[in-house]
Symmetry: C2
Subunit: 276 residues, 2 copies
């Protein structure tokens, strides 16, 4: 929380848009969540970002949640409408927008392989399945994770999306590969590691890594060397913030200045000799 990039993202956007708004990061323990939410309503906050460990627990404290948030039992953003708090979950939608708008990836008819079965992965899988893809192969270590994910996605059968359990062999035969695990993220046990050998991919594919710290993730570094088109998670992070910005202010988000601000903050963070 202390190291959250959101204040940088939103405050740069408010400044760029000339809005008299400020975004603050506040640490709230699980025992204080209900009071914090009542307080933000009473104080007239126009919106709230929600992160772990509150994404599930906040749902019953809100006045309303979107169908997507209800399906995923998870909220990452709240907006205020006439004093009512409305929760939404936008991670997956943001990735779909980032793939289309920032990276020119065509999702209609695409075959997708996705690694991971956590909270971000679930949100991404749902949004991807609603974006016109042909199929998604889910790659994860646990049987229970796959079963849960397959249940979640069963509602997309009418859209003709083929959902199946994948393995490392899936990676080579898909158009788009998404790493929705945290493998390679700095400050974790898997720092510097690759979630799969990059030799599995070829130059006709696109690789999206949800990790954005370090800016050049191990996967992005390997893919770039191997001539595979790829992107780190900055565009998704920026889109999540852009969606919240528009929800809260009713204005178009200054996406480019937001991305520049977050990249500068991440680069600063990664500079050797700097203690965070």
């Amino acid at each position: 929380m202390r190291h959250s990039l959101s204040p940088v993202l939103f405050n740069s956007a408010f400044a760029a848009a000339g809005l008299d708004c400020v975004y603050l990061a506040m640490e709230v323990g699980p025992e204080s969540l209900a009071h914090a939410i009542m307080g933000l309503r009473a104080l007239g906050a126009i919106g709230i970002s929600v992160t772990m460990p509150h994404k599930e627990k906040i749902v019953p404290l809100l006045d309303e949640v979107t169908p997507m948030a209800r399906l995923l039992k998870s909220v990452n953003v709240v907006r205020t409408v006439d004093g009512n708090l409305i929760g939404d979950t936008t991670d997956g939608t943001a990735l779909v927008m980032a793939l289309r708008d920032s990276h020119g990836v065509r999702l209609e008819g695409a075959k997708v392989a996705m690694l991971g079965t956590g909270s971000a992965a679930r949100s991404v899988a749902v949004a991807i399945c609603g974006s016109g893809i042909a199929s998604v192969e889910l790659i994860g270590r646990s049987d229970s994770g796959y079963v849960e994910m397959a249940n979640l996605l069963s509602g997309f059968a009418p859209l003709g999306v083929k959902v199946s359990r994948g393995d490392l062999g899936s990676i080579g035969r898909c158009d788009v590969v998404i790493n929705a695990t945290s493998v390679g993220m700095s400050g974790t046990a898997s720092e510097g590691e690759l979630p799969f050998p990059i030799e599995l991919m070829g130059s006709g594919q696109f690789l999206y890594d949800l990790v954005y710290s370090p800016l050049e993730t191990p996967l992005v570094k390997a893919a770039s060397s191997a001539g595979v088109r790829c992107a780190n998670g900055v565009s998704m992070l920026t889109q999540i913030a852009a969606l919240a910005f528009t929800d809260w202010t009713g204005e178009t988000a200054p996406v480019e200045s937001m991305r520049a601000a977050v990249e500068a903050a991440l680069a600063e963070r990664g500079r050797p000799g700097l203690v965070e």
Copy 2:
């Protein structure tokens, strides 16, 4: 609230002191006060300023109040200590500090005349009576206001402070005259008016006007023309903020930069052609 000078005062101070703090003005209705206070505790606010109409109603919502706040049944500032909210009332103390530090007024043994019996007047009267003065003559229109004030001040009898009901005749025979009414304040029915004829005062006296908008209040303007030493309420407003700043941050307040910021904001506000 929308026109509160406090964000200007505090945010300039935080910037001058290099502190990662921000001060926000929030409109809270009486029905939402309890939730707002619970929320600010849960969100980890380091302090709260309180203004009308919440100064009394907030008292039972706090964990603790200072003796001064208990006596006046009123709180204008709250600080957080280990998650506990402690309320204080500092208007009067701030005026005493402003008279001494900003205007070089000697209060020990002084004869004081004070106009007004409202909330600010009560706080000022209590602090003045504790500052070593010889006497205070209370000038107000209502009998009940005087009785309430005299009761409040009865505890200062052991200090030898003589408290009496005054009238316009008191003004000429005192060392220090304090206008604690809002007469002359811009945007009120008495805009441009004087609370008393300035001819009642002479050059050996000091006049303090709690009003600070417009910066040159009608009373200050008249007194300056008549050669009477005087000051508007900016120094008290600044001292209230300086006391809160130190309470909240534990650091010395950058009083001069705070005063400069508030004077600039007030001057801007008073510029013709500007709609607030």
